[in-house]
Symmetry: D2
Subunit: 302 residues, 4 copies
């Protein structure tokens, strides 16, 4: 159960099979640096290219195709005092008739106050003078090498994870990814200081981070990313349209409730029908992300 | 500000222009009975036909096309001790490859315990012996007559409301509907004792209700249903696929933030981008329902 | 087998249950007038309102719910020498990023030359000085009253037909509609002098027509509109997104190949897999239209 | 203008950046072998793996990012006398309610008669005893290396081409692909002896081929694949749902009509609105394919 402090020297814009940056053991912890979505590091130096440059890949000893990599998000610490977003709203979330009325795309800078635990626009905007939502760090893009020799752009996501931009990928959550290659080859980056549902301006508050994660190999097989928080379990589907992402997530939850909680399809539907929650991870990237979430309080005790 | 106790004699399976069952004044309260989605009343007598028989229409004096009807949901009291659901999960939420594996559709009966404030399956199901989620009454289907002489099935929803199956249409919420005909012609019914996101078994816990609502005419124009709760404001889009429903809801929220809170498109996007929440009302009916929701705490103080 | 010359006095913007304008016998022919999509008649007088004012409804003796109404399109004769279209392309067919670059919507007038059998823009447009495609009349919107007391806007389409804007609804084609009310209640209008696939400018060349159709009751049940031409049989699905419209059309074709041609699902798939054609009726209206078409030459001889 | 006879020794299941199998000059012709979608060669020996093993990549001297690679399909000769398909219809083209009624997936073998120019099921199927559609060879999957170091599965398609399964990628057609890497890195394979629209059984008639193509570098930039036949020009969009694929294709055609035919957006819409044709390439793969096609007879003479 070693802890590795890794300083990346290069970054990746695809998630695929590449030379590992570090080999670690099952159960080890990594502390490392990530740059923002545009490649700016803690000093706002441009050290990598768009989109979403990844730190990695980390080779986890013992991880084999068919296994699951469990990634506990221990800590996400912004490594600088500012982040940026775009405005206005993305085309993907507007009625087509409203698109032409939108102003041009601009980049805005936000102050990140780690002491206060808040973020705030640096330049005042009329009506938002006091708007100061909480600092809620999350990982926008992370995952493992996909199957079949694919190398997938960090702009998008798939079964192997990737650019899901889901705000529950936050400290305290353990994310699960289906392993397709020996060593899993885990990548991470694209941290956000805050983000609403859907990443509807095309960004969260993009900044550089020091991230701490603990990686564990589970000898079980999953179809899509999953997650565990203190309060919930959730599954994630990545696809277009949202309907298909939701179908992937729901089908994976049905499978999970059967595997771990002994619920057959009918029983699972009784439970899900009354208490399921759907979250929209992103509705901006090439593949949209929907999470199917169930509070632990409703799960059968085993 | 009169209160009317109305006992329905007939029910409607379309929302359209029909002879009003009652004329009320702006600000009046209605206490009335609704039957369940299959037409069973408080005595489980079959008094109406599928789908979703509606009580109404109520003519509200002073409501004119271009106005908004605000419907405060004062109270939703189940009028019998049981409700029913379907199982298994709907085709709309499953990967197509998983559909063939599902068991046949069955109806299950739930006990509704008004004292305890819970619901529970009447016949025990393995793994759900202690599953007893809270009684959380909501209105599945309500709205006003649509424009242009249309009569829309209560199976579906549109700009005028209808079968949205969104769990925040609950006591304490005020729903807004765009008025298209004189008197608004308001209908309601299809109460659920409980329902998760998406109505993913094709039903909530369907039962009969005594419903109490207060109707008010707002001299303002909206494009899609809106809602106000103690904590949130939300807008609703109804369409397929989910993407389009989400676009309608988001565009309507952008409009609302401009009208009432003085935020231009860019400012609204800064706010929404960090704190917006999306809820899936239903992903089962012919038109799916997505709500765009913002906590009041983030809205500019006026 | 009478022929009725009917002169409409009023027009309808919904397809639903209304007082019949004429009662005819099974097998009778109707010759009648239709106005253009905006309500202009043969003299360009505004006699009706948008959208797509319908002539009808015609009550066909002997048609009962569960039957099929077969509408042979005998003749579509433009009743004036001009029609109109919109430009530019609809939002529904453009990448969202391209929408803002489009010019404002304008109405263009086309000359309809019945002698030459062509249409041509009346005002010259650079690059289209010689563009003169054939006059290919079609019915944009027609169908029968839907089930359950619905009244559906002529802007859209559903199982009962409506605004499908499919160019094979042309002279020589027999269209089939599923009957849901006694007498079928048939409506027609919205003729186009010409239209490409998808109605991608939001219109065909809209003009008034004298239309001649022959109505026959088939004692058989269908799920979605069907059509027969000299060369093909086709089925039509109406929904969003296009995927769902295509699913409806394909499923209906599978059913037809079983009913009339003795092909089980496997055999039908072998045939369809090699020779099916898909046409996009419209990708503009609230419900999109996709046709699934098979050339008669490939059908089993019975 | 050399002609190269290339015998592949290895095959690829992703389209990405890999060591070229051959370097050729701009204008050269390649004659090579392709295996079927499951990796069977001309002798039905299994020499490669699913999905859609590719021959290539071919490096074309002078091709640079931002250029276009024009691939003239000179000849597609089946290299064995049989091919195979699946039945029944794909889940993607059926109403969800119809999925459970379908028989299990089976593989069927077809005889390919090069003399007669026809294909026929080898085992008789009731109702299809005389079903013998024409041999119409096409390329299912071909394209060039994508941008940014991606390696995309040959199961899917994107801007760079890939598994589009469009029946007009046939002899006589010249396909255009946007070049993203030096040398273009062209791959091809997955030949079909015949296929209807949509590849709705999940396959065409899959067989091995000798393919002959001529590659030319165009110093111009395109956004999506394009094609030229004797009669038509077309553009191709690859995405889900079909709506988005259609948007990509239509937007690319609008661009082409401006670049090469001098039509502004308004003029192009007048032309497209009356004469455009949409074809469904596939509605089976992860990304669906729609082509936007215009007959040359309607194009402005330059």
């Amino acid at each position: 159960m070693a802890t590795h402090r890794f300083h990346p020297l290069r970054y990746f814009n695809v998630i695929g099979t590449a030379e590992p940056c570090l080999r670690i053991s099952d159960g080890d912890t990594i502390i490392t640096d990530t740059v923002d979505a545009s490649g700016l590091d803690a000093h706002e130096a441009a050290v990598a290219q768009r989109p979403n440059p990844m730190t990695g890949p980390f080779f986890v000893e013992g991880a084999e195709p068919g296994d699951t990599l469990a990634v506990r998000i221990d800590r996400l610490t912004p490594s600088r005092a500012t982040g940026w977003t775009y405005s206005p709203l993305s085309h993907t979330v507007l009625d087509p008739a409203a698109i032409a009325d939108q102003p041009s795309q601009q980049r805005a800078v936000w102050s990140i106050d780690r002491e206060a635990g808040t973020v705030q626009l640096r330049e005042p905007v009329k009506g938002l003078e006091t708007f100061s939502p909480p600092l809620q760090p999350m990982i926008g893009c992370f995952g493992v090498a996909p199957a079949g020799g694919q190398a997938l752009s960090t702009a998008t996501s798939a079964r192997n994870g990737g650019n899901m931009d889901y705000r529950l990928f936050a400290p305290g959550t353990t994310a699960w990814f289906p392993v397709s290659v020996p060593g899993a080859l885990f990548y991470l980056g694209d941290g956000h200081a805050c983000q609403g549902d859907g990443e509807i301006v095309g960004t969260g508050i993009e900044t550089s981070f020091e991230m701490e994660v603990t990686l564990r190999v589970l000898k079980r097989t999953i179809g899509w990313p999953r997650g565990e928080t203190a309060d919930d379990i959730f599954t994630v589907g990545n696809a277009r349209p949202l309907d298909q992402a939701l179908q992937h997530a729901t089908t994976e939850m049905l499978r999970w409730l059967g595997e771990d909680y002994g619920l057959d399809s009918r029983a699972a539907s009784h439970l899900m029908g009354q208490v399921v929650r759907y979250d929209v991870g992103n509705v901006f990237n090439p593949a949209f992300t929907v999470a199917c979430r169930i509070a632990r309080q409703w799960l059968p005790k085993l």
